[in-house]
Symmetry: C2
Subunit: 200 residues, 2 copies
């Protein structure tokens, strides 16, 4: 069986964005696949007593430069959004819906496009018309995805996925699991890669 990395993400997290740009290629280098799993970071913080790192003003100032350095290292766009933090519940539900409607690869493409819209192009991804536009650009039936945002099965699926991540030890984003171990943060991709290469 192919080795598999689970990637729990929320499009509102800058470090999830950075990791999202790298995770597929990293896994592919070691013959592993990635299971993309949207969760709701705000609910994870609430459940675990964690807080967003930008709560500490000095850390928030440092983070801005830190994200710029990572983006430069990876060669990916980054522009600090004018809206931060913002509610990602509609976007995360849209991702769950996209998965149900069009499959995991459609979810992955929509995730990458929403990450890019928010962290590269300063779009308001809490706005359903923006979500629809981005969904259409990646070839999805935008109306079907947006209509499914409020569907009970969408809400339940996002809640269940979030609860599962918390139950397995997640407390922030991105939360990556490989062979039962949690790797937290874009800055742990190197340790995840070590684990993948040692798993032979």
């Amino acid at each position: 069986m192919a080795r598999m990395v689970e990637f729990f993400y929320d499009v509102g997290s800058p470090y999830a964005y950075l990791a999202a740009t790298q995770i597929d290629a990293l896994a592919a280098r070691h013959g592993a696949t990635v299971r993309w799993r949207p969760f709701l970071l705000g609910a994870v913080f609430k459940a675990t007593g964690n807080e967003m790192p930008a709560r500490v003003p000095a850390k928030a100032r440092w983070m801005l430069g830190d994200i710029v350095r990572w983006a430069r290292k990876y060669g990916v766009p980054f522009a600090m959004p004018t809206r931060f933090p913002l509610s990602t519940i509609s976007a995360q539900r849209a991702l769950v819906a996209a998965h149900r409607i069009a499959g995991e690869d459609a979810q992955r493409k929509l995730a990458l496009a929403l990450f890019r819209a928010y962290w590269g192009d300063d779009r308001d991804v809490s706005d359903r018309s923006v979500i629809a536009e981005v969904a259409q650009c990646v070839g999805l039936d935008a109306g079907a995805v947006v209509d499914a945002i409020d569907a009970p099965e969408t809400k339940d699926a996002l809640r269940a996925q979030t609860d599962e991540a918390v139950a397995r030890g997640a407390f922030g984003a991105p939360a990556m699991f490989f062979e039962g171990e949690l790797f937290w943060g874009n800055d742990r991709l190197a340790l995840l890669e070590d684990a993948l290469s040692q798993a032979g």
Copy 2:
């Protein structure tokens, strides 16, 4: 003039310990020197409104495995201390005193030995007799170092160094500065190394 990295550390921080085992060799690879600077992490947290990461239970559980993975990657000893967190004020003052009495290299050697005693050998580095023993093992006049822990100039110097780090943006440990930029955490050594190599 030789390029210089400032390394603010507290022996009570596991990530400062991990970085301490790497920082000299990393800097040397790029023809840079390291200025080792003890500060008091508890005072940094208080001044910035930050908290120790282990405050969040799920993060504390993850951290233990995370530190083990880094220690394995670096090939350095690690055993979770039975006393954690512990007061490092005497140890940090002893480091300031060692610097004044015997110079920066003596301070660096004492720092590495105290880090090792705490994170490798489960010693109680809040205990002055342990500090004296470790100081003696690295060739210092243990009596002089321990006697200087309570000297006003020792206390003032540690406070001034801590205040300076906070004023320059530090909020946690290790805090590394290179050319005006703050690199926070053992997990930012790779970005620090990028900056050193690009500074050419």
